[in-house]
Amino acid sequence: MSKINKYIFLGLLVFSINANADKFVSIGDFADQMVVKHGFEKSQIISWISQAKRKQNIIRLMTPPRRTPGKKRRGRPWYKYQGKFITRNHIDNGVRYWRRNRHILKRAEKKYGVPAEIIIAIIGVETRYGRNKGGFRIIDALKTLSFDYLRRADFFRQELEHFFLLAREEGSNPLRLKGSYAGAFGIGQFMPSSYRNYAVDFNGDGRRDIWNNHADAIGSVANYFKEYGWQKGEPVMKATQVRSSNAAETLLGLKFEPRYTLAQLKRMGARYNGNESDDTKVMFVDLRTRMGTAYWIGFKNYYVITRYNHSKHYAMAVYQLSQEIARIYEERYN
């Protein structure tokens, strides 16, 4: 009986994976596309891809945790996520990183209008200030995720395309570049498409080396934020009260984008006490703290941080880490 159940369950699992997976494209077809679109040699592409390995642990890392049907998953609360990034270590190293790269950061702040502490916090959360850039070959990760794992294959196939273009433009060997298990690389963990669109040469040596050069990495992160519409001097998020728990529920039903005006949110039951004008575009954020659920108003800049990684916890972690770093830095050096 239990065996039968297991098979049914497995069948369901396979079915559900297939239901929301992207369509499979063979390596040959992909290579053909690369030839037509960008004039690569087909044999070259095939040889690169065939030299890449399919990594089972990448698939395991990318698979979301299984859900029990019918039960609403609440996910990990914010305070557990917070405990991983808002630590003594992260803050102290961030302050030191700021001190070490203060001239570069000042220049980036001036040129792109993004505060130094935000750039530092991003780099800190992504790779612990460049210490953990990922040990997978990018080509292994992208091959596995575009041909052997179909959940987001379309996205990763595009990234693979960008990756080959990147290697050609930069004149580097695609088999040697390293990154994370999702194909992100460098001190700021850029995806290949982001690298091609937003990475900048910030130390003036003519190369965009975000693997080893902190100036280029800092400039690239700042440019990424600027391109996604970072508003200089504007707030990121501010705490708010809500009129009732019912109001909180309706507010949480909203989209995770700053497409509502403050006036709209106030009408729906947010009791916000700031002086921002009523037509400011904002979004509603809830976080589970150790004491209970608390609420914030996220502004455009909050949304820009989520463009780096689409998660409310990620954005809050970056923001809070940046605040902690800035506080200590000011105490110590100003």
Partner: protein, 163 residues
């Protein structure tokens, strides 16, 4: 020529007089203004709108203040969860992850060091609120209290000190 100059000066004086107490110009001053304005050239009259009430402008931020030689010991309380997003007496919004505090007398936006005398941990907080509880010395934000380990042991004595 001389008359003109005198009248101009008079106008200037009357204008400044008006603007200084624009709400209630004295009864005496009124006829004087009218008389001279009639005589004066139109150019001068154009200047009159300066008397109009200026639009109300909110000052950006109160000035940072530094207090010296303040030191006190006492017990601390902390804000509750529902206070997240509340408007404090200084006008800033209370954020539970901020490093702020309420105090009975210290000026707003002044910074003080708060030390937990039991474990020696200390934090720097900004005064943003007024405290009306005589039994407590200071009321800390959640995050500040947490850093001092006052969540588990709320009744520890603290030392509040300016730099």
């Amino acid at each position: 020529m001389k008359k003109d100059i005198i009248s101009l000066v008079l106008i200037a004086v009357s204008i400044t007089a008006c603007s200084s107490n624009e709400i209630k110009p004295t009864v005496k001053a009124k006829p004087v203004v009218k008389k001279i304005v009639k005589k004066a050239t139109p150019k001068v009259v154009v200047k009159k709108p300066t008397i109009k009430q200026q639009p109300f402008v909110v000052r950006n931020k109160p000035k940072k203040r530094v207090v010296r030689n303040y030191m006190a010991q006492g017990s601390a309380s902390r804000y509750r969860l529902i206070h997240n997003g509340m408007k404090t007496a200084s006008g800033e919004i209370y954020d539970l992850y901020g490093m702020t505090a309420a105090h009975a007398s210290l000026p707003f936006l002044s910074k003080v060091r708060v030390k937990n005398l039991r474990n020696g941990r200390s934090v720097v907080v900004t005064i943003t609120d007024r405290l009306y509880d005589n039994s407590k010395l200071i009321k800390l934000s959640y995050w500040a209290a947490r850093k001092l380990d006052l969540i588990k042991h709320p009744s520890r004595r603290v030392l509040v000190k300016t730099f």
